[in-house]
Amino acid sequence: MTNLMDRREVLGATSLAAATCLLGSGGAEAELASGNLTVHVLDLYSGTPAKGVKVELFMRRGEQLTALKSVVTDTDGRSGTLLAGDAFAAGRYLLAVDLSDYFKSADETLPANFYRKLSMEFEVTDVTLPVQIPLQCTPWTQACSVLPG
């Protein structure tokens, strides 16, 4: 898979409109921005961080979704840095968190066909700011936030 994002030019404090114009343009080495994207999954069923949850990140361009990352949360329920530096670009993203296997292994009373996959779309406009996405969940409730800074 070719990664279009590797060669994207990102300017530190451009407006969304300006940044959108730069999408797909190759060339200059990216200027390092301090922004990044992280996900943190908390299991409110067990009162612990949710380890081993599959987290996928896509970028949306119109109707097209491009897979960027697929990771599994660590022992602290964290995704690690999904995007940073020149890969953290302005634009629209889709985050998908699959809680099915996680909760089925945590709770044997859940039916075998229990399926719960949370997906959310959001826009990044300022690539100089970190974006944190905490997710608190039980098998029956999911609360997801997109927090700047």
Binding site: H40, L42, L44, Y45, S46, G47, T48, P49, K51, T75, D76, G77, A106, D107, E108, T109, P134, Q136, W140, A143, S145, L147, P148, G149
Partner: protein, 150 residues
């Protein structure tokens, strides 16, 4: 930094038919133990810098104020162990009282008079003095959420 892993058994009650099951859960425990909180203003989408937080402990039937804190610019208190740390952590019932109305008034957010939410208490137990506890509050003028974080 070393990470201690504490294993404990949690008793959980299934929702369906009140079925009780037991399961073993692994909690990643970063040493040293501490209590921390994080106040997030979900109305303005930013940390609740400067919000006042009263920290109390239950003694008998009464709540005894231990100390009043002001959240830092990131909305945090206790990251350096100022709420409770490995030396002071004690099993018991505690309360964090968040001054939501006062915070919004100072922020210039228009509220009803009186405001829907005044102060918001979160009461929780320290049940194992060797663990760390992160107890955040997400709040807007109209709703709150808290949970055991990490």
């Amino acid at each position: 930094m070393s990470i201690r892993v504490a294993r404990r058994t949690l008793l959980k009650t299934g929702i369906a038919a009140g079925v009780t099951v037991s399961a073993t859960s692994v909690i990643a425990q970063h040493s040293p133990a501490k209590l921390s909180t994080h106040a997030l203003d979900t109305y303005q989408g930013k940390p609740a810098a400067g919000i006042r937080i009263d920290f109390s402990r239950k003694e008998g039937d009464a709540w005894k104020l231990l100390k009043t804190f002001t959240a830092d610019e990131n909305g945090r208190v206790g990251e350096q162990g100022t709420l409770m740390n490995a030396d002071t952590m004690a099993i018991g019932r505690y309360e964090l009282l968040f001054y939501v109305e006062e915070y919004y008034k100072r922020s210039g957010v228009r509220l009803t008079d009186p405001a829907f939410l005044d102060t918001v208490p979160v009461r929780f137990a320290i049940f194992d003095a060797k663990q760390s506890y992160h107890v955040p509050l997400y709040f807007s003028p109209w709703g709150i959420m808290s949970y055991r974080g990490s």
